[in-house]
């Protein structure tokens, strides 16, 4: 049996995260929900969840993060790994028959939608070694 790594109760930061999202939803109403819906649909569609289900989940994204803090990765009823709070889908990479060795290495690095442009403005941030 797998050994749970983390059986701690939900962390305060996660509850605060949910609070922040709730405040945001109240503040921005439909507009914020539309933004979150777009984000969640985009993040989940490749993970085997229907867009309708994802859209419904979008209004409770913060709650999903809190519920998942028991440390266990959620597994959907069909056995497909689902990450409601996931930014990146691993759907294309971890289907190896041997239990997880990536079967594909395509879906390569994605160029930016628009290239950087020269700027004369004072910088807001710096990108450099850290």
């Amino acid at each position: 049996m797998p050994e749970p790594l983390d059986d701690r109760p939900p962390r305060r930061s996660l509850r605060r995260d949910a609070d922040v999202r709730a405040v945001s939803r109240m503040t921005w109403g439909i507009a914020a929900a539309a933004i979150a819906g777009t984000v969640v649909v985009g993040g989940l569609a490749a993970g085997g969840v229907t867009n309708q289900a994802a859209a419904e989940g979008s209004t409770s994204a913060g709650t999903g993060a809190v519920l998942a803090s028991d440390g266990a990765a959620p597994v959907a009823g069909n056995g497909t790994y689902v990450a409601p709070d996931s930014t990146y889908s691993d759907d294309d990479y971890y289907r190896g028959d041997d239990g997880g060795v990536p079967a594909r290495s395509d879906g390569g690095l994605q160029p930016p939608p628009s290239a950087p442009a020269p700027s004369f403005q004072p910088p807001v941030a710096a990108s450099g070694g850290s």
Binding site: V101, Q110, G128, S130
Partner: protein
């Protein structure tokens, strides 16, 4: 001047965290959201915290363990990085990094540590790590130590920029030690970002570019260096040699659709050395590479510097 915006900066993840939003009234909320995201990523993915999920996984000695969503995501991203770079960016370098003396937060590594002896340790390879998506478990072979440093920080930047934008509705820039992610609308003319050797220097030698979306990451051998009995070491490890990458480029900056992809490419470019420009060009990634002597090579759609 850049459109009205507000910026907050604080120390986190052993480096500097910065958030800028184009709605100044929301800067406190933006900072709060960023701090929460970084705390979560640190508790899940830090190699230097005994209480992190990653440290527990590294101590599991080959046992199959269930991990939380965030660590799962970070491991998935790290293994994808290895896959798309043919192993140049490999998360199983943890033990080799430790053997090089990078076994604690860098603020402690760069201090005086007499008697640190460096040994070269083979990197076991990313294919040794097993993710079982049906069981939601991870198995790391005994003796293998995962280091998510190359990609977890960029993942945190992408996640944080999105979370801040979701919470505030503002156009958002998040920078974590110079790994930059954008989300939401950009001001007219884009967000100006200085591209230089050291992320802490807004006036450092380099150039300023305007970004509208996606991410920008810079990898450099010039900043995170430390002294050992075998001479100076830097933190970008060539997995095939188990040693710091040869310094064909001192600094590489790459723009991509996400900060994660930019970070993967900039890290791999340092390791690939002379082959990096062609590889970046084939991937259609705008990039700026600086040799140890200061010669600048621009790749793809990277712009000419503003004069």
């Amino acid at each position: 001047m850049v459109a009205e915006h507000a910026t907050a900066r604080f120390a986190a993840l052993g480096t500097t965290a910065l958030v800028a939003v184009d709605r100044p009234d929301y800067i406190d909320l933006a900072e709060s959201v960023l701090r929460d995201e970084l705390e979560r990523i640190d508790r899940a993915c830090s190699r230097f915290r005994d209480d992190s999920e990653l440290s527990a996984l590294n101590r599991a000695q080959g046992r199959e363990v269930a991990v939380g969503m965030l660590l799962w995501e970070a491991l998935s991203v790290a293994l994808r990085a290895a896959a798309v770079t043919d192993g140049d960016v490999d998360p199983t370098v943890g033990r080799a990094m430790g053997e090089m003396g990078y076994d604690r937060d860098f603020t402690l590594v760069r201090g005086p540590r007499p008697g640190v002896v460096v040994t070269i340790t083979p990197v076991p390879g990313w294919r040794a790590v097993r993710l079982d998506r049906e069981r939601g478990t991870v198995t790391v072979p005994a003796g293998v130590s995962i280091d998510l440093g190359a990609t977890a920080k960029a993942l945190a930047a992408d996640r944080s920029a999105r979370a801040v934008h979701d919470a505030t509705g503002a156009g958002t820039v998040v920078s974590l030690g110079g790994d930059i992610a954008l989300c939401g609308p950009a001001p007219e003319g884009g967000w100006p970002v200085r591209v230089t050797d050291d992320h802490s220097r807004l006036d450092g030698a380099g150039e300023t570019v305007a970004l509208r979306e996606g991410g920008l990451a810079t990898s450099s051998t010039t900043v995170r260096r430390w002294a050992t009995s075998a001479g100076a070491r830097h933190h970008i490890l060539d997995p095939r040699r188990g040693a710091p990458a040869r310094e064909v480029w001192r600094t590489v900056s790459v723009a991509a659709a996400t900060c994660v992809d930019a970070n993967i490419a900039s890290t791999a470019a340092i390791i690939r050395g002379h082959d990096a420009p062609a590889w970046l060009s084939d991937a259609r990634l705008p990039a700026r590479l600086v040799s140890p002597g200061g010669t600048v090579v621009q790749v793809g759609a990277w712009p000419e510097p503003a004069r």
